[in-house]
């Protein structure tokens, strides 16, 4: 029953995609489109099939290698970004001087567009993976910074008083109240950061790269293989959806207390755990 519902709603959602793709295909077939600009979906699909299931080699390796390279660069950049962003946020949350005088510089970084600093990044970090990771880090550290800071500063006077009356220390207060209380904001920041990190990686790959999904797009276009170029774009979208979904699932799992289903799930689990202990 449940799976049936899922299938139906999935079909419903897919319907609009299918209609759009169908219209596009038909329009292209009847000569309405210059395929150097926008190849028809069937050709892109065919190319995707070749890339993913026939292991077509593009210069350095298969699509999986490029996919992996991009994902790895993005993930490392993302990790650095959240470490830096969160560390700064925690320092800023605890130290007013830092928050007042140093944190505003983080805002300056945010209003500086990543693509404009790309040449500098390449000059500083070279043309290997480092520069991709560096740009991903640079563009993605801000959302975790600002969100975590907001979350940590979101204070509840009554909770503070409660912790004081039961004699909690600063660190107990931090771990047991302040941090969990900020988790929804922290996760919202991570979700923003993960797509921005991907964007940063691809911008950097456009500038100089030997491997990665970003460079494939140009490489195919250069060979006049526009279906391939668009297939790379679709691959990027797939990667985007993938990381977005992972972030979303993690968010739901960890910040379970926001929705009733999550609450019931964890509540039942804890109850079971207790009864099996006894």
């Amino acid at each position: 029953m449940k799976t049936m519902n899922f299938v139906i709603s999935f079909l419903k959602y897919s319907l609009s995609f299918v209609i759009v793709l169908g219209l596009w295909e038909a329009y292209a077939r009847y000569g309405g489109l210059n395929e150097l600009f926008l190849p028809r979906p069937s050709k892109i699909g065919d190319k995707l099939y070749n890339l993913f299931f026939k292991f077509e080699i593009i210069e350095q390796g298969t699509i999986y290698w490029h996919f992996f390279a991009t994902l790895a660069q993005m993930s490392i950049g993302f990790c650095y970004g959240i470490i830096i962003g969160n560390t700064l946020a925690i320092i800023a949350a605890f130290n007013e001087t830092f928050r007042r005088y140093i944190a505003p510089y983080a805002v300056v970084f945010n209003v500086t567009p990543g693509i404009a600093v790309l040449p500098l990044i390449i000059a500083w970090f070279g043309f290997g993976w480092e520069s991709k990771i560096a740009l991903a880090t640079l563009v993605c550290f801000f959302p975790p910074f600002i969100n975590t800071l907001t979350g940590l500063l979101k204070k509840n006077d009554e909770a503070i008083e409660l912790f004081q009356t039961i004699g909690a220390t600063h660190s107990q207060y931090f771990w047991k109240q302040q941090l969990p209380n900020a988790l929804p904001e922290i996760f919202a920041g991570l979700k923003l950061a993960i797509t921005t990190a991907l964007l940063g990686t691809i911008v950097a790959q456009f500038g100089s790269a030997t491997e990665g999904v970003g460079i494939l797009m140009q490489r195919f276009a250069f060979r006049l293989d526009m279906a391939g170029s668009f297939a790379s774009l679709v691959t990027m979208a797939i990667m985007g959806l993938l990381v977005f979904t992972i972030a979303e699932v993690l968010d739901r799992r960890i910040v379970f207390w926001r929705d009733t289903k999550g609450l019931e799930r964890v509540s039942r689990k804890k109850q079971r755990k207790l009864s099996s202990n006894d």
Partner: protein, 263 residues
Amino acid sequence: MAATAKKKVKNSSFGQTVIDGKNVTKIFGETVTALEGADFNIRAGEFISLVGPSGCGKSTLLRLVAGLIEKTSGDLTVNNEVVTKPRTDIGMMFQKAVLLDWRTAIENVLLPSEIQHRITQDDKNKAMASLDLVGLKGFEFHFPKQLSGGMQQRVALARLIQTGANIMLMDEPFGALDEFTRERLNIELERIVGELKATTLFVTHNIQEAIFLADRVLVMTPRPGRIAKIIDVDFDRPRDISIQTSRDFNIIVEEVRDTLGGH
């Protein structure tokens, strides 16, 4: 069983002075006098209700005793020690339940134990028992969001019991409850406090509730916050809900009203 309308000192059934305030004054900022020259002393095992209009300084008084804020002048001691910071022998319950959303009912109740030491099986048993005491058997593993407002209040009460503090400060703890649930909890609270022999300072807006629970009622008046009168309540314990319709009870109600109305 007669209630006298005069301020009188009663030394009979209670122990030594536990909370002692002399001429306690609290001024916020430079101009807001929240509490002025308050004199009060509360003895071991006594239940004191605090009533007064909004903004008269009830919460301020409680927070001073709890050591959450500092007095501006006067003397304030708890168990003969000058109050300077929060003490672990004082437990406090707030108007809102203040539960941590990410902890189940029992985990919330265990919080005070967790803060003081590693939790033991003993603590867990005690927490189960206090939840049972407030009528929440079977809801131990529910999260706050899965409980109704009244149930959340009761978790907070169980947590207060868990602290093991023998001085309890309660700031309108049942403010958000309907009268019927509130009455039930009042009876339970009377029993619990009696069992624990705890010294209690209880703030409420509800005059009936204040009198029903108290050994003495402190009536406060605003601008600036002062203690206008201290009224003894001499009904036997445990008390039955029916005393609320008795003549003696209503005489005290009138006295409280008059004191409040006089301002």
